[in-house]
């Protein structure tokens, strides 16, 4: 869990930062939290979201706790969904990631509106775009994580076969 969050933060602050456009930005930390929640349950989602959100807040320079609260909520809800429904298909996961992104954005922006009336602003289109991107990357992440062991095994088998042929 910790490794996933650290990796997500590292990628978020390096790769995603450089890829972020003016209209939409991917949230790799959110994707990691939702993945964690879907894989490990609401408690893991809650705690993971809390830690990840706080870390993100600390690095982002805003009010520490807003992101933590948003991601805690999202992680918890995503975990609850995973315990109540079968979320194994790509479409299901896409919906979860998509809705989780919207909930996170709504909570984050809403909290800032309450704390500081000017707050942070985001257009619906930007939010929807971000949610779409997050959902796609989330599905991809699932594919990578779930397919990585098999791919690695398959690669090893293939390389060992090539070695044996060359020796022959």
């Amino acid at each position: 869990m910790a490794a996933a969050i650290v990796l997500a933060l590292a990628l978020q602050t390096t790769v995603a930062f450089t890829l972020a456009s003016q209209h939409a930005a991917v949230d790799l930390v959110l994707i990691a939290v939702v993945y964690l929640a879907l894989a490990a349950g609401p408690e893991a989602g809650l705690l993971g979201g809390s830690v990840a959100g706080l870390a993100q807040d600390a690095l982002a320079g805003g009010v520490v706790g807003v992101g933590g609260l948003s991601k805690s909520l999202v992680g918890f809800l995503a975990g609850l969904v995973a315990t109540q429904f079968i979320v194994a298909g790509a479409a299901h996961r896409f919906v979860v990631f998509f809705l989780a992104s919207l909930v996170n954005a709504g909570c984050f922006v809403g909290l800032y509106r309450v704390i500081d009336p000017p707050g942070v602003s985001a257009s619906w289109s930007a939010l929807l775009t971000q949610a779409l991107i997050n959902a796609l990357i989330g599905i991809l992440a699932f594919r990578i994580v779930e397919g990585a062991p098999g791919w690695w095994h398959h690669r090893r088998m293939r390389r060992s076969a090539l070695r044996s042929r060359g020796r022959i």
Binding site: E43, A44, V64, G65, S72, A82, I115
Partner: protein, 278 residues
């Protein structure tokens, strides 16, 4: 990775704890309109309520405690004051009694100096021993020169006589209103003679001539003929004359209040035959 969950209760508690923790964290960084951090304002407000409640409880307890002590102290003071009031009341009664006694003694002294016979002042120390007899006990006896049949008088009039054998420091006095008591008497206005006889509560004037002029209001005095009471001391006043001729009933109200006798004079000299005849 497998999905593991806590029981719903613990999960809800954990969720609430995390949410509250984040809210507290956010509040610590956000200022109110007055510039005070929200966490400080909320904490201060909440704690101020707790402090207010605590202060109210402490105030109530200390107030009750103080009031209890005040009440306790007041109760003690009240008890002391009550005792003082009682003591002062007793003291006042004593002073009044002393004043009254002084007044009575003054009257006795005047009377003593006014009458020619030797007299001796005495205090009534006891009342009737039986309801059938009307007697009192005085604090003078044989050591003071008392003997039987000495007249006892008061400023208001005749009281009675010493009966029986007096003790050395006490003597029994038969009151004039006793059923077996009697004294030679005359009506002061008409000089009609008779005998004043006790009936237990008052007096009757008997052995009065059928022709004697006796009317209500007449003053009856001792005649001195009985050899006991000196002549001229007031016995009482006629209150009613009923019947006619020899069957007349003359009721006399004594001038002495026998229920309030305290100091008396014992006439040490018995009237002589010559005086009685005068």
């Amino acid at each position: 990775m497998s999905v593991t969950t806590l029981d719903p209760r613990r999960r809800t508690f954990l969720f609430a704890a995390v949410m509250v923790g984040h809210l507290v964290l956010i509040s610590a960084q956000v200022n109110t309109k007055s510039g005070v951090p929200v966490l400080s304002a909320v904490t201060f407000g909440a704690f101020a309520g707790v402090q207010r409640a605590g202060s109210a409880v402490v105030g109530a307890v200390t107030g009750t405690w103080r009031r209890y002590f005040a009440l306790h102290q007041t109760a003690l003071e009240n008890e002391t004051l009550k005792q003082q009031v009682v003591a002062l009341g007793v003291q006042l009664q004593e002073q009044r009694a002393l004043a009254e006694r002084g007044r009575r003694l003054e009257l006795l002294l005047k009377m003593q100096s006014a009458i020619p016979q030797r007299t001796l002042a005495a205090d009534v120390i006891a009342g009737d021993a039986s309801s059938f007899f009307r007697t009192v006990t005085i604090d003078r006896g044989t050591s003071d020169g008392l003997r039987a049949d000495l007249a006892v008088i008061a400023p208001a009039g005749v009281v009675g006589r010493v009966v029986g054998d007096p003790a050395s420091r006490a003597a029994r006095v038969q009151l004039l209103i006793d059923r077996s008591a009697g004294a030679g008497a005359i009506v002061e206005r008409s000089r009609a003679g008779g005998v004043a006889v006790g009936d237990g509560s008052g007096l009757r004037l008997e052995y009065v001539s059928a022709l004697a002029d006796v009317v209500p209001g007449d003053v009856v005095v001792t005649s001195g003929l009985d050899g006991i009471y000196p002549k001229g001391f007031v016995i009482g006043r006629v209150v009613s004359v009923e019947g006619a001729a020899t069957s007349r009933t003359i009721l006399v109200r004594p001038t002495v209040d026998f229920s309030a006798l305290e100091e008396v004079l014992v006439v040490l000299d018995r009237p002589g035959a010559g005086e009685a005849g005068g």
